[in-house]
Amino acid sequence: MRALWTLVIASALAACATTETPQTQPPAGVEDRAPGTAPSGPGTQGVPPKPVTGVDLTGGRPATSQADPLRDPASILSQRSVYYDFDKYDIKDDYKPMIEAHARYLRENGRIKMLIQGNTDERGSREYNIALGQRRAEGVKRMLMLLGTREEQLEAVSLGEEKPKEVGHTEEAWARNRRSDMLYPGEY
């Protein structure tokens, strides 16, 4: 539903952009012919670049947020992040109690869904990092399923290196960005 809604907004914006854009193209451009007495060059057909018209998606987005027991700092359920070594996706033992707690919560609340977002640091290829972030998120998803969560409750996606929690080009920033986040509705 959310996806559909965003699409509707996108098409509405696109429609606006269309109406605001002059539809007339400049006449086909630079004509090509040899000067009167000169030896002529081969065809350098002069097609001027076409104007580019764009889509603007930056209009305000409604923010949804509500008070949530999952945010009680005293509860292990308020912890949401798994951290990784460079180019790794294995889940260290330290994070297992937290993932078990979320699996229990999801088992007990079978209608609640979770989005798992995998992230990487900025180094290397953006596209490889999307694949790596997906693998990290899938690893968390798989562990939750092994602990009894139904697959329908879970979606794993990757943000690659595109949404760093920590901006900066240091080891510390990189370590904080190699991360999977377990998010409940209203949190993403």
């Binding site: 965003t6 996108a10 696109a14 269309t18 854009t21 193209q25 400049p26 006449p27 451009g29 630079v30 004509e31 090509d32 012919r33 040899a34 000067p35 000169a38 030896p39 002529s40 060059g41 081969p42 350098t44 057909q45 002069g46 097609v47 001027p48 670049p49 076409k50 104007p51 580019v52 018209t53 764009g54 889509v55 603007d56 998606l57 930056t58 180019d87 900025e122 180094r123 290397g124 290829s125 953006r126 596209e127 490889y128 999307i130 694949a131 790596l132 972030g133 997906q134 693998r135 899938e138 979606e155 794993a156 996606v157 990757s158 943000l159 690659g160 595109e162 949404k163 080009h169 993403y188």
Partner: protein, 427 residues
């Protein structure tokens, strides 16, 4: 002397500083052709939006290639034109090997202008050729790029790329812009503006459409957009992540990386989103497909051997073989337009740099020397490779000549520029 020349080049190139994207050149080619581009008679009546003359744009184009040295041309009276008798001895005494003379005529009933030029070989004392164009006032830069393309091709034997365009992503604060600009950074125009990341723009072979990945729906989805029509078409929006679009050379399909069946795998899909078919079947990561120019092969990144390395397979997904062996992290393959070499990103003592591999001789050459280089993209004539890097904490683009000698840096004011994609030659 070399440093001084580079500084002069930098100044000459600064004419485009009015543009959003500004260019700085460092280094010089091994052998640059000294060329005199004389002011075209009457060109002062026909300036571009920034006040540049045709001859200045032509000269800056040629110098930016790293293959030419533009000579200072004093004010000549009477001003020579394409129909003057050429005083070869005088131009030779100015050390010119090549010469461009021409003229601009206005006063046409339709308000358009006529530009004529002729290119001369000063050493052989002969005319090489010439062209005339009629143009309107808003076509000054396009016409100058055509003249530069003509001169470049006549004197180097290769296609010029001055009339091509580049795409890239600019991040300004929390805002992402997919931009298209002329190859010299001028005439920047936004195709998409979003509060969520945009990555991996890829030009269709005919230069009319761009495929890209947008996170506007909170996850990576592949879109295609016509550069003249502000409308996004969804190509791949499956469960999980959808990314890494690459056009087949005939434009009939896109290779993409999808995680709909588990880990990232490579699929072919039609540009309208129909008929997805899976090409790779591994338990690991396969991504970053790139077609060879003949369409027979797909190069890609895979961690099937334990670390990310570059492989290639047939375009039907068969016969995968490993291409890179040195180093523990080799990603982002891009095949040169002649199919003979491969640019990619390699980790080298903890630094991520762009390397060029000769696919015949297996010789490898490092093209960049920074820490965080990524996203190489070949110019359509193969002479330069555009890449993204971080300088002083800011994202900039660098165009490196394929021999590694000449570098141009393209920066934007108050923003990070990244994800370059050099567009095709437009006939």
């Amino acid at each position: 002397m070399r440093i001084l020349l580079a500084a002069v080049l930098g100044l000459v190139a600064a004419f485009s500083a009015h543009a959003q994207l500004s260019i700085e050149i460092t280094g010089t080619g091994a052998q640059r052709i000294p060329i005199a581009v004389a002011p075209l008679a009457g060109e002062a009546a026909l300036l571009d939006a920034s006040g540049a003359t045709l001859s200045a744009i032509v000269r800056a184009d040629l110098e930016r290639s790293g293959l030419f040295r533009g000579l200072e041309v004093p004010r000549l009276v009477p001003q020579p034109t394409e129909s003057s008798r050429v005083n070869y001895a005088e131009w030779r005494s100015r050390l010119a090997d090549a010469l461009v003379l021409g003229s601009v005529a206005g006063g046409r009933s339709d308000g358009r202008f006529e530009v004529r030029f002729r290119l001369y070989d000063v050493v052989k004392q002969s005319a090489i050729g010439g062209v005339a164009y009629t143009l309107s006032r808003d076509q000054v830069r396009a016409t100058a790029h055509r003249i530069a393309d003509y001169v470049y091709e006549k004197l180097t034997g290769e296609k010029g790329v001055f009339s091509t365009r580049i795409a890239y992503v600019v991040k300004r604060g929390e805002r992402f812009e997919l931009q298209v600009a002329d190859a010299d950074g001028a005439n920047e125009q936004a195709m998409l503006v979003s509060n969520e990341p945009i990555i991996s723009p890829a030009w269709s072979p005919d230069g009319r459409r761009i495929a890209y990945v947008s996170f506007q729906n909170k996850k990576p989805i592949v879109y295609v957009q016509d550069i003249e029509v502000p409308k996004q078409l969804i190509v791949a929006n499956f469960k999980g992540s959808n990314s890494a679009p690459a056009w087949s050379p005939d434009g009939s399909s896109l290779a993409v990386a999808l995680t709909r069946d588990g880990t990232s795998q490579i699929y072919l899909i039609n540009p309208d989103g129909s008929n997805p078919r899976r090409l790779t079947r591994t338990a690991g990561i396969d991504t970053e497909p790139a077609f060879s120019p003949d369409g027979r092969w797909i190069y890609f990144t895979s961690d099937r051997g334990g670390s990310p390395q570059i492989y290639r397979m047939s375009a039907t997904g068969a016969d995968a073989q490993r291409i890179t062996f040195e180093g523990g992290y080799n990603v982002s393959p891009r095949v040169s337009p002649d199919g003979n070499s491969l640019a990619y990103v390699t980790r080298n003592s903890g630094k991520f740099q762009v390397a060029l591999l000769d696919l015949g001789t297996r010789q490898m050459q490092m093209l960049s020397d920074s820490d965080l280089d990524e996203s190489p993209s070949f110019a359509p004539n193969g002479r330069q490779i555009l890449l993204a890097t971080i300088v002083g904490g800011r994202g900039v683009l660098t165009a490196v000549s394929a021999d590694g000698r000449v570098k141009q840096r393209l920066t934007v004011s108050a923003g990070d520029v990244r994800e370059p994609a050099w567009g095709p030659l437009i006939p």
